[in-house]
Amino acid sequence: MKISTIITLKKDVLDPQGKVIHQTLDGMGFKDINEVRQGKYFEIDVNESDPAKAKKIVEDMCKKLLANLVIENYKIIETQ
């Protein structure tokens, strides 16, 4: 089954790319932005039909490789 995970920078970590995107959007006329934070999205097709087990496998991947827990958080989403 497909499991998705979103990795985002923790709140107190500076996100210079998000900042530049914010400035560019602002320059384009999108004036109502408080903040932009950039993250990463992964879609992983796991050979496991039990959603709980599949999520656990992806969570393990997040902890060991996909996210660096010093600066990033992860959120797991079941997609199908």
Binding site: V13, P16, Q17, V20, L65, L66, N68, V70
Partner: protein, 227 residues
């Protein structure tokens, strides 16, 4: 004295490091990332470059490659492991040294000479050096050292800050910080001081006609300290 330089797919300072180590008397071996065992070494170097194309996070894939388990065991048994630039990024991803290296503050790839100040000489890498301020080269996109407040306190309490960015007089100020690193940190030790990660490249400063000699001072001193 025997050294090993690990080559990952995408390393590009591995041969420069090989030249530098040999010039100052190391018997150096190049070790492929997919090997299982390190040869007998007094020093292991993780070189600069763009291992695995900097995919995911710089150094993250390389930190999981086959040879790294052997490097981690070597470091944990007290062996000297030095990571330069991408090598430093690999070290933080293994957890051998604390913190992470974020994208440079102003989103620019920086390639220039900088001055660094050696803060702690009670270790194999810097003891007996007769000066504190060195001119080294940096070339990186992700050298912005970051750690949590708790980690920073621990790093400072254990004297783990190895080098700072500064000016030619050794003043450590914000205006001499090229990439936004916390406290101008350019290099960090592990608690035991046998593992050193730093962004500047001493191997690019070993020839007066090409660059400068501050790297020569570093390597000459290093081999004497290990002997």
């Amino acid at each position: 004295m025997k050294s090993s330089v690990i080559t990952f797919p995408g390393s590009n300072c591995d041969r420069d490091m090989d030249v530098a180590l040999k010039k100052f008397g190391f018997k150096n071996k190049m070790v492929w990332h997919d090997d299982n065992e390190l040869p007998k070494s007094d020093l292991v170097v993780l070189p600069g470059g763009f291992s695995y194309g900097d995919y995911l996070r710089c150094g993250s894939m390389a930190s999981k490659s086959k040879i790294m388990q052997s490097v981690i065991n070597f470091a944990k048994s007290g062996g000297l492991v030095m990571g330069i630039c991408n090598g430093f990024q690999i070290l933080v991803e293994t957890g051998l040294v604390p913190g992470v290296l974020l994208r440079n503050k102003y989103l620019e790839f920086i390639c220039k000479n900088v001055f660094i100040k050696v803060d702690n000489k009670e270790n194999f890498y810097f003891k007996n050096l007769d000066k504190d301020i060195f001119e080294f080269h940096i070339a990186h996109n992700e050298g912005n050292y970051f750690c949590t407040k708790d980690q920073l306190k621990e790093i400072e309490d254990n004297n783990q800050i190895a080098i700072y960015y500064c000016n030619d007089k050794g003043q450590i100020e914000d205006q001499f910080n090229p990439n936004g690193s916390i406290k101008n940190i350019a290099g960090i030790f592990n608690k035991e001081k046998n593992v050193l990660g730093m962004m500047p490249h001493p191997e690019r400063m070993i020839d007066q006609s090409l660059s400068g000699e501050d790297g020569s001072l570093f390597f000459k001193n290093l081999i004497n300290n290990i002997k």
